[in-house]
Symmetry: C3
Subunit: 450 residues, 3 copies
């Protein structure tokens, strides 16, 4: 059996593959009703542990447009899951009924776990606040359709940038495509530090304070930050006291306040929330910016924008169908689109230590303990960062050991570079390392407390 | 883009169009399994804000029989609507996933609103207590199949005629087809005055007290009223002291007590409710009357009727499939059936005044304020009656103004006839008119208080 | 119209028919995606009064694989049933929308009632704790695929044998195929007496205490009983003090504790529940036993068994699709498989007496009184046992009368054999018989109190 391709994270796809998917989606979009033979006799199962009508209908429409069939569990939490079955078991059973499995789950990392147990391709239709790659592909595809390319575009993110999973995923993807991001956050709802750090460390993106005077009312109430994948020496050209000037915008991506994900104590005066309308978007720099929104919206885009030709949010939603047709037909291999394994995500190694547990309480690791494979992903080698391969959250440790030499080092010691990933063992502190039978190596004395 | 045809109200269809639909439905019914290519590659979305399994399954069966696909949200209220999305937005999104949208909603007028925002045909599958046109078409089609025509038939309505939306809609439709209606209401559950008035004013139907002696037990406990679309001078032939005699019945249409729609304070002793059985239907005049019921029934048709050849209620339910096949294929234009715009419903005009708000608390106007188009429908010009184009309820006003002359008149003044609908402005009273900058015109002094 | 075939009980199928279904299923299984024309234009309705995602998805997948369509009511109890409609009415309506009806219901006997009212074939997808014939067929089919035949196999049943409907049905079916059953019950959860009695009376199966020394750890905590359809004189060969020795096992069928069906007062220490793992299954006699489970499992099969080649429980679940394809295509007569009426189930006779009521409170008889046909099934003539044709529970009576002679006899009187079933009347006691106008016949004086 050849290796199955899944779509768990946008990182599972190379840039070339994404562009192939966009080309295929455009071909489908040109005549949505004309492909009813492509997946004839094939079945998609939609397994939704939390209801999400919009996402489910979009997938089901895509599969039906391809001529396939759909079996659907729109709210698994109220049915067989109540008999106490593990996700790993449910996935193995339902994979036996279908040719592709579309999973929505409240736990981060659930889709990755499902892929490990499924005999058919798994598509992540949202796993907690972690990933929702088909939404990101839909956003990228919309931009690509409207602008013809993605590299070098200037995309404004406005509103709640702190809790919006959609914005974070879209930001990473834009950075990979070397597009620029202009952040106009609601006050107090900036991009989180860990997102900015990943943008910098993995994609070489630098944030600079921007001169937003040409954005008009849109930027009146915010500190605007410009994130660009340019190299540092290029950036220095712009770092004058006023910051980089934003002169032309290709897209404004608006988000609603993600109140359901607010940390305890978060306060938002909704009457004061950013609201896009004709006035906000009157500046010359926004003249031909497309207005996007992942929907549903509340009030954050005024209905006076609905008839504005710049508003493409409903077209963007409709494009969820052809992009998902492209994804389904690729994974089912009825169309040749995906060429090989993904190259972006760091490789995953089996974990050798009990010190490695993922600390994210929302991670599937903590609800399906018996079925997860203890492992870690190398996020970066310098500095050495490792993350949970399910939920992607960084795992904290103080020491890294080498299982062949039974020695441990401080995580930021130079010699750490010489340890092969398959030999790595992680310890919280010296006591844990010694208990496991390891002794301090060169550099171990530099260990700072975690 | 040619104008979309929707099916929001039975009034959206001309009599000729309805008969074309019946012909098409009969063709489908003759071989239900033989049309699986007609809507191949097309998708229907069923968007149900309140569950109605029977209606939903009937539509889905119809679409599948035509070879199309179905995406289904069986209970929208528990899913994405909970994120606070407006109906207008949901409709625009789901229309992007499908080729026809079937909507069930608890608010009156919801389907009309949906049609204004949808990019694909909308079918009203029930909007509150307002309309359910495919049920009415199913009832008409059953009668047409059984009798070969509708004009001139005598149809008995029995049971709760007050709260049954089905009965009201069917009555209007029968009147348009110039059939006669015999009302045998449960005591206290007569046809409401506004239904009788509409029957009289729009369709020229006159109610007369009937001589029901030939109906036997069926009419024993009720005052029977006969409603006929004959012209008054013809009717006078029958208005002897005993009323018109009912001598032959073509159909008995029975309804259950609509307890869920009872106004507060309504009392019904259910043990005393009309119950059709062999005894009730023994009269010679009922010998070949078909027995109909929109279902579900409780006890109001005895199971001893189930094997009676006159009972067609299950056949009537089954005919919901071919009639909906005819409707779907017409709206999707895979079959040429609908010839032009509907002619029955009064035209709608944009509203020019704040005095015009619909007063029906169940109307979609009051839950989707930002998305309704303020407008009115001219129900009749003499007397001048206007209604809400969403929920069809009459709107009350005391004065009508002319926006070109900035004068107002009493609503029943003769000069009102000269005001063009596009100039009409409605005021509750003089104070409101004056406040809007209007002055009394000729006839204004005749204004009675509302 | 030819007589409809339904699948309400496994007893509706002859052994030859079951083997034809297995052959057909294997043909389907060899190329699951290659049959999308067989049921083109046909529609299955899944009508589930209690949610069972797994069963529903399996049926829907099967119908889609055959190219048919599916209309689905995944949780009827929350929808139209709330308007108080009887099952008999709902079935007649939904049968009008579809070509085959798949029913899941909480009341025992519901599927039998549905079959009496449906105009299309009905498939029982579980009626309370009564039957779930497609599960049993799936289990038999899996065994047949793995072993090539069923007759003479040795099948271990382990765990909760008392409350598992699945085990009881599978046991009857194995007995019909003349396979042997080895019971390894959780302590206190043996096969119920009524199951053992039916195995003995209807299928000639004799239970003997078995020598389980060769089963190793698996049987360490239980008294093992061996049930075999051998004739008594053959059995006597084995009834030495140590019982029959179990030397080779073909399959181990494990079940979870059916806590939701426990009678009040039942106590189970779940930490002490039988748990299959490598140690339990290490004995030589289990070397090539396949491990089966109807799923979902909790902990009763350790995940260390998942990769063991003997474990076929996920394959078993997947086989639910081809076996249901075979059933659907047989009942829809697109494939010629079923040859005639079932021969196993006793014939049903109209009941002539008020004394006959079914005493099972969970039986559909007691919720749909107006729609059940008062009747009884002759389970055995000697001794005379009659059962409810809906829920199959035995009906208790003290006297049996003859309606042509108006006499009654004790139920175990010799003369009872001469009463023709169509003349049988059942009485609780003499008082009831006399009240009905019957007098004691020869043998009546032998009546013991019930």
């Amino acid at each position: 059996m050849p290796t199955l391709r899944h779509l768990i994270s946008i990182d599972d796809l190379s840039l070339v593959e994404m562009e192939s998917i966009f080309e295929k989606a455009r071909e489908f979009e040109e005549d949505l009703g004309g492909w009813a033979d492509i997946c004839r006799g094939r079945i998609a199962a939609t397994l939704f542990y939390e209801p999400s009508t919009r996402t489910r209908l979009s997938f089901e429409s895509a599969m039906l447009r391809l001529g396939g069939g759909v079996i659907s569990a729109a709210d698994m939490r109220t049915s067989s899951a109540s008999k106490g079955e593990s996700l790993a078991d449910t996935v193995r059973v339902v994979a036996g009924y279908s040719d592709v499995l579309i999973l929505r789950h409240q736990s981060e990392g659930a889709a990755r776990l499902a892929a490990e147990y499924s005999s058919v391709p798994v598509i992540n239709a949202g796993d907690g606040s972690h990933e929702h790659p088909t939404q990101t592909l839909c956003d990228l595809y919309s931009l690509w359709c409207e602008r013809g390319h993605i590299e070098g575009l200037d995309v404004v993110f406005a509103g709640d940038l702190r809790y919006s999973r959609t914005v974070h995923s879209f930001a990473y993807a834009l950075a990979r495509f070397r597009a620029n991001i202009v952040c106009i956050p609601q006050a107090g709802f900036d991009l989180p530090a860990y997102v900015v750090r990943r943008l910098r460390e993995e994609f070489g993106v630098e944030p600079v304070k921007a001169d937003a005077s040409r954005l008009g009312h849109l930027a009146a109430a915010s500190d605007v930050v410009y994130l660009t994948p340019q190299k540092p020496h290029q950036l220095s050209l712009f770092t004058d006291p006023k910051g980089m000037s934003v002169g032309h915008v290709d897209a404004v991506y608006m988000t609603r306040p993600q109140t359901e994900r607010f940390e305890e104590g978060t306060v938002l005066d909704e009457t004061n929330y950013l609201r896009l309308n004709q006035t906000q978007l009157a500046a010359d720099s926004l003249r031909d910016a497309v207005v996007m929104h992942p929907l549903p919206r509340r009030d954050e885009i005024s209905s006076d924008m609905d008839a504005d030709p710049r508003s493409i949010y409903f077209k963007q939603a409709a494009r969820g169908v052809p992009i998902r047709m492209a994804i389904l037909s690729s994974l089912l291999e009825t169309e040749v689109v995906l060429q090989g394994p993904a190259v972006v995500a760091g490789p995953t190694w089996p974990s050798q230590s009990a010190g490695m547990a993922c600390i994210n309480p929302g991670c599937i690791c903590n609800t399906e303990e018996r079925h997860v494979r203890r492992s870690f992903r190398l996020a970066t080698r310098l500095p050495l960062r490792v993350s949970c391969p399910y939920c992607s959250q960084e795992i904290t440790f103080g020491l890294v050991g080498c299982s062949s030499r039974h020695q441990f080092l401080a995580r930021d010691a130079r010699e750490v570079r010489k340890i092969r990933p398959e030999d790595m063992v992680f310890f919280r502190d010296e006591a844990q390392g010694v208990e496991a039978g390891y002794s301090p190596g060169a550099g171990a004395s530099q260990v700072p407390p975690v």
